[in-house]
């Protein structure tokens, strides 16, 4: 049963009387009348006939009843729908092109909407996610950076009791090992405060989340598993709850598994969730998620909490900048910042595509409508009202748009995943793309709107009274050129929109190319980072590398061994030294400082071979030697940005600086003897990216990594050819020195090539996403526009066969006939290109600001030329048929 049939059935069930009831009543009336007539002497046969003539047929009665009850419209509609489907089946070429035009537009729009819905409108599974805030502060000197406030336990408790706060969740990510197996496995642990279950309000897949009772009696050793970790480690075992998991050599009881869409949180997705330990909690830091009370505005919360945070900042000096203010942001904010703009741009793009698809359908319907003039004229002649014909044509348009929508929604399921594949880090891990009720409602609305949009113009045009003369003029093949003008605005619009999309794609591609060409300051090709994490959790192993000297020896041993691998040409060492993001920021003291501004710089811990391994040029002075590297103190190398900003360029060498913050930041760090003492600048190196691709290089100071040693090390290995192919030999080399040392998977101690690190930068993936998707959009748009132009010319040539025959017979040159055939389409294309150029030069300024790039005039003209040439071809191909008309054959139509 079709859809309108279903509606009819439903409506029918609401009718007060059944059709049998109506018929029985009428039957009685008919018979009574018939009997009366027979009583008056009319013969039976005659009486039966007269009764039916006067009162009507029994069969028609139900129709009358249904019309009165308001059902006839539905009956007619279902007829129109069936007629529409039949029409499409009869014209498969027309139907395919029309439906695909729409399927492209609707599919892309639906995909983009479901993405926006998943990412921006409803990304988190948490209860009251809209009220959950990150505790951000704004450094007034660097307003575009994101800064977190972390808290100690007493501070956390104070914050929880603040008036605008409903509740606060504290969390802290920590690198951990799953032990008890053959080799320890690195995992990311996420400590949560005991209110996790009630705060997050996410129903676990199995078991339960961390609850208050877990913290009683000094806390229990319980663990909740992340869904992906559960699949990876336990193979999705449904009986995992109650089992024991050994983490950092201590047994934990598994109490629950979280559902798939729970990926707490955007700092780093935890593999295991543990209870925040109570012992020694005062020195551990809590990152807070603050749930505000309902109806508390952010401004009110900011001003209420700021004094509290100012109090906190006094307790830990030196961490907050001088001028700052509190800026709570909803947890979705960081993603909105990063991808919101991109998604809006893409939505704009797909809407343009949808409009082009609609225009295409309008053109096709109009073109087909000309062939249908005869049918419509007959309908009018036998009494169809204009409204009835408009309705029929609209329903046919709806049939096309709904079929297109079904195809489009099916396609959008895959289309929506494309951006997630191209730029995985830009989207919240929780956002699951799926076709859900809001998305379906959206696409149905889009389909109906499209049907109305592209169906209305042809319907109104074809149903006009003055087209009735077409009845007589059928098949003469002479059509006034004026009639063609009426559709040409659709071509103009299509061409203008297509040009807009193509120019945007050009701008996106150009920005991406510029990003690729932008000087990095280092050479990422053939360099791989190999990370190792020291076994700091196993006391026996930790003792071996706890002292600075032992740790340095261990790292240097491994370094030397990797250096012997054949094919490894250079190798450098460091911690947190992987471009394009490297180094922690510290305040710096510089001798003979002239201005009062407190200098700040990224401190990057490396060895002397790092510069060569990464290809960072030495501009002045020298790198340190091995002895200086082992000592760690008294020397520093700065980058050019530092020299330019804080030192007068000529006198950089020999100047002295001091970083008083270089003290152990956690119990794993060890420092050299005089790490906070004055250091002499012995060299200046070129600027290598250290703050991402979109920001300028920050002033940086390179220090021997032995000044502050962490619990991990990064080796930067330059190889001959693809570094990935050396991974096994490098692993073997490490194992020959330290058999139980594993190579890190991810995070700071991860193993990946520097090109991979580059491609993970948000700016890189966003630009790549934009340029790929806009190229796809504009290719689709171009194809649609060309199909539109092609069908317009082809139909008008077919309509004007006789005219061309006559022209040829009268001796018109072929070129002239060709021109006459393609004239209207060419003119409207040209106008479209001009309008598109004008619109783009207006919009371009806006767009380029959005895309954070300069407006690309070159790509705009390239797009215009490409569009013009292909439009010319689309015109001339069907127009060729006009000159192939044989005059005698054409005239036979008369």
């Amino acid at each position: 049963m079709n859809f309108s049939g279903l509606i009819r059935k439903l409506w029918q069930s609401r009718l007060p009387r059944t059709s049998r009831d109506v018929e029985e009543e009428f039957q009685f009336t008919l018979e009574s009348y018939q009997n009366d007539l027979m009583d008056q002497g009319v013969p039976e046969e005659e009486a039966r006939r007269k009764a039916r003539i006067d009162l009507g047929q029994l069969a028609g009665q139900n129709e009358t009843y249904r019309r009165v009850m308001g059902l006839r419209v539905l009956d007619e509609l279902s007829g129109d729908v069936r007629y529409g489907f039949r029409g499409l089946r009869r014209n498969p070429g027309f139907a395919t092109v029309a439906m695909l035009s729409l399927a492209l537009g609707i599919g892309a729009t639906t995909a983009m909407f479901s993405l926006i819905y998943a990412v921006l409108l409803h990304p988190f599974p948490y209860a009251d996610a809209g009220r959950v805030m990150n505790l951000f502060y704004l450094d007034e000197e660097r307003p575009d950076a994101i800064n977190f406030v972390s808290l100690s336990k007493p501070q956390f408790d104070l914050l929880s009791q603040a008036p605008p706060v409903d509740s606060v969740l504290g969390f802290r990510p920590a690198e951990m090992e799953i032990t008890g197996g053959a080799l320890p496995e690195d995992v990311l642990g996420m400590y949560l405060t005991e209110n996790a279950a009630s705060f997050l309000g996410v129903r676990p897949l199995l078991g339960r989340n961390i609850e208050r009772s877990d913290a009683e009696n000094g806390g229990h050793s319980v663990v909740v598993l992340n869904y992906q970790f559960w699949l990876r480690r336990f193979g999705g075992d449904p009986h995992v709850v109650g089992q024991t998991l050994e983490i950092n050599h201590a047994p934990y009881t598994v109490i629950g598994v979280m559902p798939r869409n729970f990926a707490f949180n955007d700092f780093a997705v935890g593999d295991v969730y543990l209870l925040m330990p109570a012992a020694g909690a005062s020195i551990l830091e809590y990152l807070p998620w603050i749930k505000l009370k309902p109806n508390v505005t952010r401004a009110a919360a900011n001003s209420a909490l700021e004094p509290l945070v100012r109090e906190f900042s006094k307790e830990k000096s030196g961490r907050l900048p001088e001028h700052w203010h509190l800026a709570l942001q909803p947890i979705i904010w960081t993603f909105q910042q990063e991808v919101g703009r991109t998604l809006k741009l893409l939505l704009g793009g797909v809407l343009l595509l949808l409009m082009i698809g609609c225009a295409n359908c309008s053109i096709l319907l109009l073109a087909r409508g000309r062939a249908r003039h005869h049918e419509l004229a007959i309908r009018k002649a036998i009494g169809a009202s204009r409204w009835r014909i408009v309705r029929q044509l609209l329903v046919e348009a709806m049939v096309i748009s709904c079929t297109g929508a079904v195809l489009g929604v099916a396609a959008s399921y895959w289309l929506a995943k494309l951006p997630l594949l191209l730029a995985p880090k830009s989207f919240p891990a929780e956002s699951v793309i799926r076709i859900n009720a809001p998305v379906l409602a959206f696409s149905v609305a889009v389909a109906l709107l499209c049907g109305l949009l592209f169906g209305l113009v042809p319907a109104l045009r074809l149903s006009r009274r003055d087209s009735a003369p077409m009845f007589t003029a059928r098949n003469t093949g002479v059509t006034s050129a004026v009639a063609g003008h009426r559709w040409s605005f659709l071509i103009t619009a299509q061409v203008a929109l297509t040009l807009l999309l193509m120019a945007t794609a050009g701008t996106a591609i150009q920005s991406f190319v510029e990003l690729l060409r932008a000087p990095l300051g280092y050479d990422p090709a053939n360099v791989m980072q190999v990370g190792i994490r020291l076994h700091f959790r196993v006391p026996a192993e930790w003792d071996r590398v706890q002292s600075r000297e032992a740790r340095m020896t261990y790292i240097e041993q491994i370094r030397d061994k990797i250096a012997t691998v054949p094919g490894v040409s250079q190798i450098g060492t460091g911690t947190f030294a992987t471009p394009p993001y490297s180094g922690n920021e510290y305040p710096v003291e510089i001798d003979r400082t002239v201005n009062g501004e407190q200098p700040k710089a990224r401190i990057i811990m490396v060895d002397q071979r790092y510069f060569v391994a990464l290809g960072i040029p030495q501009l002045q002075g020298r790198a340190w030697d091995q002895d200086e590297n082992n000592r760690g103190d008294f020397i520093a190398v700065v980058n050019q940005a530092f020299a330019a900003k804080y030192l007068s360029q000529s006198a950089a060498l020999g100047r002295r600086l001091r970083i008083s913050g270089l003290t152990p930041r956690n119990r794993f760090q060890v420092t050299s003897q005089q790490s906070t003492a004055w250091r002499q600048i012995i060299g200046v190196v070129g600027d290598a990216r250290n703050d991402g691709l979109e920001h300028p290089v920050l002033p940086a100071i390179y220090l021997p990594y032995t000044s502050v040693m962490d619990s991990y090390a990064q080796f930067f290995v330059r190889t001959q050819g693809d570094p990935q192919t050396y991974l096994q030999t490098i692993r073997a080399a490490i194992a020959s020195v330290a058999p139980d040392q594993q190579v890190g998977n991810g995070g700071l101690a991860g193993t990946f090539t520097l090109n991979e690190a580059l491609q993970r930068a948000p700016q890189y993936s966003a630009q790549r996403l934009l340029s790929i998707l806009f190229s796809v959009f504009s290719a689709m748009a171009l194809a649609l526009a060309l199909v539109g132009i092609f069908s317009l010319v082809a139909y008008s040539v077919a309509q004007r066969t006789v005219e061309f025959g006559v022209r040829m017979a009268l001796g018109a040159p072929r070129r002239h006939v060709l021109f006459v055939a393609a004239r209207i389409a060419l003119a409207s294309t040209a106008i479209g290109i001009v309008i598109g150029l004008a619109a783009e030069s207006y919009l371009g300024a806006v767009l380029s600001r959005w895309m954070q790039n300069t407006f690309a005039v070159r790509s705009l003209f390239a797009a215009a030329v490409l569009l013009g040439v292909s439009a010319l071809l689309a015109c001339l191909l069907p127009a060729r048929h006009a000159v192939q008309v044989s005059p005698s054959e054409a005239l036979r139509y008369e």
Binding site: E24, F26, G56
Partner: protein, 113 residues
């Protein structure tokens, strides 16, 4: 010989209401009664009759119930509802007002204007 009268649109419904107001009737009975009251001068057959009945029932002015006819057959009898009574009264008033005005205008002679 009397001339058949064509009804203005919408008045058939009023007549059906009037016929039913005199006592419950089945469909054919309504037809007969209207023709009887009008002195056989109304041509109300031609299918439009039941349209009026269905419409009145849909609006809740008359109510149909199955009963037994004079010759012991199942028939559907219509009776006036309370809303129907009110409707008939207001329709009658409106009709009388309108015909009085129109008749008054038509009765005017040239010198009276």
């Amino acid at each position: 010989l009397t001339k058949p009268v064509e009804l203005p649109q919408g008045t058939l419904e009023m007549l059906v209401l009037k016929a039913v107001s005199l006592g419950p009737l089945h469909g054919y009975g309504i037809l007969l009664r209207i023709q009887q009251i009008s002195g056989e001068r109304l041509e109300i057959l031609q299918g439009s009759f039941y349209t009026a009945v269905y419409r009145l029932e849909r609006r809740g002015w008359i109510k149909g119930e199955w009963g037994e006819s004079e010759n012991n057959r199942r028939a559907r009898f219509y009776s006036l509802t309370a809303a129907g009574t009110r409707q008939l009264r207001s329709e009658t008033e409106k009709w009388n007002d309108m015909t009085a005005v129109v008749a008054g205008i038509l009765a005017k002679k040239a010198d009276e204007v």
